[in-house]
């Protein structure tokens, strides 16, 4: 736990600084009310009415996030293997990892062929 105390100390310092700056920015600047200024900026035209909650966005982003989770978990499995790599005896560690990566590669090839990696 002692190892984590400096992280918390720096985190508190950074949070204090960022919070102070954000509040200071609101207090130190001038305030001149103007209706047009408070609208969302769209290069001068009237802003598009935004649905509550941000509305819809392309499903591509959702797909990218899902793929990210799959492959990020794969990488998380690779890390302990890499750290312990020097302690494996013989070909066992390598073959196990080749099998695992091959399994994930099947999913990767499937996504590729189905066009999940195309962005248009």
């Amino acid at each position: 736990m002692d190892l984590y105390i400096p992280i918390i100390v720096l985190g508190v310092l950074a949070f204090g600084f960022a919070g102070f700056s954000v509040v200071m920015g609101a207090l130190s600047g001038p305030k001149r009310w103007n209706k047009a200024k408070l609208e969302a900026y769209e290069c001068g035209i009237e802003p598009t009415p935004q649905p509550v909650g941000g509305g819809r966005f392309p499903v591509k982003y959702y797909l990218t996030a899902m793929l990210f989770i799959v492959f990020d978990i794969e990488i998380i499995f690779l890390y302990p293997w890499a750290v312990a790599f020097n302690r494996f005896a013989g070909w066992f560690g390598l073959i196990e990892m080749v099998l695992f990566i091959a399994t994930v590669l099947v999913a990767y090839a499937y996504i590729w062929r189905r066009g999940g990696l195309e962005w248009d």
Binding site: I5, L13, V22, G29, E46, I75, A82, M97
Partner: protein, 433 residues
Amino acid sequence: MKCTTEGIAGFGCDPWWLIGGKALVIFVFLVLTVLLSMWVERRVIGRMQLRIGPNRCGPFGLLQGLADGVKLALKEDIVPAGVDKVVFWLAPVVSAVPAFISFIIIPFGPTVSIFGHQTQLQGTDLPVAVLLVLAMSSMGIYGIVLAGWSSMSPYSLLGGLRSSAQMISYEIAMSLSFVAVFMFAGSMSTSQIVAGQQHIWYGVLLLPSFLIYIITMMGESNRIPFDLPEGEGELVGGFHTEYSSLKFAMFFLAEYINLATLSALATTLFLGGWHAPPPITTIWAGANSGWWPVLWFLIKIWAFIFFFIWLRGSLPRVRYDQLMKLGWKVLMPISLGWILLVATIRTASREGLNQTQLLIYGGITIAVVLVGSFAWDLVATSGRQVDPYAEPERATAAEPAQGGFPVPPLDLPHYHGVLPETAARKEVSSGTH
């Protein structure tokens, strides 16, 4: 508690004043680096574009960053009417805090004596130190997404989404480029990784990993050539379009701190950390002890920051589909293949295979892959043989009546000025996109 041991065991036993002092020094170092790198960037870019760059605030314009900060603080802090207030205020903080935290595990130098206390020049070290940096960079993405979402503006939303999709895509290739380093160092702690590079830098030993890291580092930092989230022509400012005053400054600060962190991580993992460059150590044995390593570390970091700026001055922006294609279809498979290659070679050399055997087995593998791909090609194309001597089909211009695209005739008369029926234009409400 004994604190003189090297490695992980040497951490976690600093007195309270040293913990606070180190955190404060890292904090001040980061803020100064941001101010200085803003100045360096603008000066260097200025020179590259045959301009002078800022030279009015202080000597050589060195105080330009500070002047910008003060100016931002004195500007009106606009909170647009439709925004989600809580998230809008929280996003800059969420973006800035993780950026600071990542730097705590970066080793600045070896063990030194501070007021009679032996300590290593590093905030702290964990058995999973590099994972902390990855986690914090993911937390920073939350700030960007929340900023884009809470602004209730199409530009902000699209900018935030683009930015996060880009960063998570490149984070995969980036995390994969670390695996080979962990394999050689046998640890994820930054001090151990630096200690493992005493004789040869991993950037030389694992050059493909290093190159992949450099490319993904550009993608992670949202800078040219991958600065799609801020493509000015399309998205104005991207996720921070609606931000002003010091809230905007927090995003700016986070971006430049991330630049410094990525440079420091590259230095630590691939360029030997605080170790002196090889020619210096052969001439001068004391280069790797005392406070000198801090100098080598800073030189390496600034070389990377200069490299970032240099790229910004030289490269155009890529297209978004090219960016995603590079991340998912090129960098990721290459990284995975490289990891397997390194693992195979290391296992083989550990198992006592000599070079002849390695070459034979490698040759057999390559032959099998080639024959396999040839057989696959035969099977896949056997169904659709094309007669090379057949007359090619003439491309016929499809008429609109036959379902072709309606193209206006080329001999249409030009008109100048406004036609009577279009002169009185009806007002059109602005469309969605």
